[in-house]
């Protein structure tokens, strides 16, 4: 095939580039991340940070979640930039509300946010209280038996 750099070739090139860019944008805005919210007593650098007694957490404008100690819940979000708002009452019966912005790494399926750490260091960089999370490996090994693949398309005929 002979490639001629005429107008239509250029147009097509531009179109392909635009579509590819658009696909990338879609990747950014459509990628789903699971954010685990954790309210557990945690030890960071030998220093123990206690779980909060009662805390309400809202990510973006999703429904607010309530946590008691040792609670863990998750929210599913798309895009990378998000805000988290936690409101709790401290020992002095003071209502404290912290709002933080955070950015999720693009290829991360799942991250965990430690609410006590965030409450303790509201101004610290996000790496202090947000880290990536991987499912424990035993969950995968729990299903050893091989799945039988049914390639017979007649099955689909009856049950459509």
């Amino acid at each position: 095939m002979k490639i001629t750099f005429n107008r239509i070739f250029l147009m097509r090139l531009i179109a392909i580039v635009v579509v590819l860019l658009f696909a990338m944008v879609l990747f950014f805005i459509g990628k789903q991340h699971t954010v685990l919210l954790d309210n557990k007593t945690i030890t960071v650098n030998g220093e123990e940070i206690k779980a909060l007694k009662m805390v309400e957490v809202q990510v973006n404008k999703l429904e607010a979640l309530e946590f008691v100690p040792r609670d863990r819940d998750k929210v599913e979000v798309t895009r990378q930039k998000h805000t988290i708002t936690i409101s709790y009452t401290d020992e002095n019966w003071e209502e404290i509300s912290i709002t933080r912005k955070f950015t999720l790494p693009l290829m991360e399926e799942m991250v965990i946010i430690s609410i006590p750490t965030l409450a303790a260091n509201p101004d610290a960089p996000q790496s202090v209280w947000l880290e990536k999370y991987e499912l424990p490996t035993y969950a995968v090994q729990a299903a050893p038996e091989d799945e039988v693949v049914v390639t017979d398309d007649l099955a689909g005929l009856i049950s459509l």
Partner: protein
């Protein structure tokens, strides 16, 4: 108006005249000399004027020659065509008209068979068209005999097929200009303009499938006319009409002729190919008669009469009519086959209403122009195409549309379509020769259990095949060879052998020599002749070559427009047949419905 070659010839004569005058002048008085000089000067002057006026003819074909594998079909054809001139091209089938047009259009067929000799000039420039598309781009249009129209498109859509004016859409930037939208208004405008030039009434929005035939023809012509000059193509300058009136009614034909005159007046040159000679005389400026690949005559149309053209067409007084059987008194002979009101629906070949008596023991020829129905007669009688009417064989009526009854009655048919109907191309010669006889007459079979099992008798088949291979001089490696590997002539012989194996009382032979070389031709004809003489088999032979019919037949029926126009003894002069073919008949005609 006079055609240029004539001028040239005229000039030659004049100049020799002039030379002799000059010779004279040296011995005669000075005044005489002056006079002669004067004449000479005027001639010269005239010539210059002429050359100025028609410096470059629109189309000039010089020394065109063409052969198909050694078979010469065109020899040294020369002619010129000026803008606005209508040239009538006539000739019998196979005279070379269509080959000439194919050369003009640069058809693939020509290039694949080794090109052609000579030169084609357009506006004085030598051109060589690679494809018909090139020819179209140079402003040459052709209207074919078969319509190349799309039935479910309107006239406008057909006229502008693949040349539609477009409206810009943004998507075309991306996907090419084929995604531009058709500009319907402009399309109608262009087609209306083209139709107007023809001065006919034709609804541009009418679907082609619903048009009468004449309108289809006009649509085709309008398509050519609508080709306007663009930067890559030129507007239509030359129009070739290949038998445009063949399918038209008289009225339609008349309006077509009028339209042609109109076009010519607007400067378009037309090459008009037709078998209706009166039309040629009516509409053409010049008539060019071809025969055997040569131009026989090029004359101004004025003052020419039909018999003259017919004579030119059929031409040579044939010396080699190989036999002259005494023409017997036909009234007393037994009628073997009788066709009554036969109609046949065969594509491109309509038989409307044929009445024909075939006498026992004779060879009767059926001739006529292409597409007039001569091929339809045997095909319909045999039942290969839907037919109606009545056939009587030996006094009994034979049901139509049933090949089996036809064969059972003792008739056989050698089809003109060798590859399609005549042969099992993928099977051996043995099968081809023996099949029909085996199926119809239970020949070459061994019977077991009282005829319950009919086993193919390989030995009998081989023997018969070998017999015919010898008898007909079929050139093959063995009787096991596949039919498709044989040459055309040998295939034809196999077809005949197949028919002979049935030992019919009456044999239909359709175009037995089409597409085979001269040697094979005479062998085939001899075989037919011999078969007729030795076994008394009646033969009905259909051929488009009149001379061939005349050389072998007793009587010849001429078919035109799906009807038998007349039957003449084979010994009648060619010119009479020529007249009959073009619809003029004399008193010699002795039968057929007129």
């Amino acid at each position: 108006m006079v055609l240029s070659p004539f001028i040239a010839i005229g000039l030659l004569e004049y100049s020799s005249l002039v030379a002799s005058f000059r010779l004279f002048a040296t011995t005669l008085a000075v005044t005489v000399t002056f006079m002669v000089m004067d004449v000479r000067v005027t001639i010269k002057f005239e010539r210059i004027e002429y050359m100025n006026e028609k410096k470059t003819p629109l189309l000039e074909m010089k020394h065109i020659s063409k052969d198909f594998f050694g078979n010469q079909v065109l020899t040294d054809v020369n002619f010129t065509l000026r803008p606005g001139e209508i040239l009538g091209l006539v000739g019998e089938n196979g005279a070379g008209k269509s080959t000439l047009m194919k050369i003009l259009f640069g058809m693939d067929e020509i290039h694949q068979t080794g090109g052609f000799g000579g030169e084609v000039l357009i506006n004085g420039e030598s051109v060589l068209f690679e494809t018909p598309i090139d020819a179209l781009a140079a402003g040459i249009g052709m209207v074919h005999q078969e319509f190349s129209l799309l039935p479910d498109f309107t006239a406008t859509e057909n006229i502008l097929l693949n040349r539609e004016p477009l409206k810009y859409t943004a998507l075309s930037e991306l996907f090419g200009e084929r995604l531009n939208v058709l500009d319907r208004e402009k399309m109608t405008e262009i087609s209306e303009k083209a139709i107007k030039r023809l001065a006919v009434t034709l609804d541009p929005e009418m679907m082609v499938s619903q048009m009468p035939v004449g309108h289809k023809q006009f649509t085709e012509i309008a398509r050519e006319l609508s080709k306007e000059a663009t930067d890559i193509t030129e507007g239509i300058k030359l129009l070739v009409l290949d038998e445009p009136t063949a399918v038209l009614s008289e009225q339609e034909a008349d309006s077509l002729l009028k339209a042609m005159r109109l076009l010519a007046e607007s400067g378009i040159a037309i090459i008009f190919i037709t078998h209706r000679l009166q039309e040629i005389i009516d509409v053409c400026d010049t008539i060019m008669v071809m025969r055997d690949g040569k131009i026989i005559k090029t004359v101004p149309a004025e003052g020419v009469v039909i018999p003259e053209i017919a004579r030119w067409m059929v031409g040579r007084e044939v010396k080699t009519v190989s036999h002259k059987r005494a023409v017997q008194d036909t009234a007393e002979r037994e009628v073997l086959l009788k066709l009554q009101n036969l109609w046949v629906d065969m594509p491109g070949e309509v038989v409307r209403n044929v009445d024909l008596d075939v006498y026992k023991g004779e060879i009767i020829g059926i001739g006529g122009m292409a597409g007039q129905g001569k091929l339809g007669i045997p095909n319909g009688a045999m039942g290969l195409f839907p037919a109606g009417g009545k056939i009587f064989f030996e006094g009994k009526e034979i049901p139509l549309n049933s090949p089996r009854n036809f064969l059972d009655a003792g008739m056989a048919f050698v089809s003109e379509d060798r590859r399609g109907v005549g042969l099992l191309l993928d099977e051996s010669l043995e099968w081809n020769v023996s099949f029909t006889a085996m199926q119809v007459q239970d020949k070459y079979l061994k019977k077991y259990l009282g005829g319950l099992f009919k086993w193919r008798d390989q030995k009998a088949i081989e023997e018969t095949t070998e017999k015919y291979v010898k008898q007909m001089e079929i050139r093959c490696t063995s009787t096991k060879q596949k039919a498709k590997e044989l040459s055309g002539g040998n295939q034809q012989k196999v077809c005949l052998a197949k028919a002979f194996a049935v030992e019919p009382k009456l044999l239909f032979v359709s175009e037995p020599t089409r597409g085979i070389d001269i040697g094979a031709k005479s062998l085939v004809l001899q075989a037919l002749r011999k078969y007729n003489e030795e076994l008394g088999t009646t033969i009905v032979m259909v051929s488009s070559e009149l001379e061939e019919l005349r050389s072998i037949c007793d009587r010849i029926a001429i078919v035109s427009d799906g009807k038998v126009l007349g039957i003449l003894p084979a010994s009648t002069e060619s010119a009479e047949f020529g007249l009959l073919m073009v619809g003029q008949h004399s008193e010699l005609v002795d039968g057929g419905s007129l």
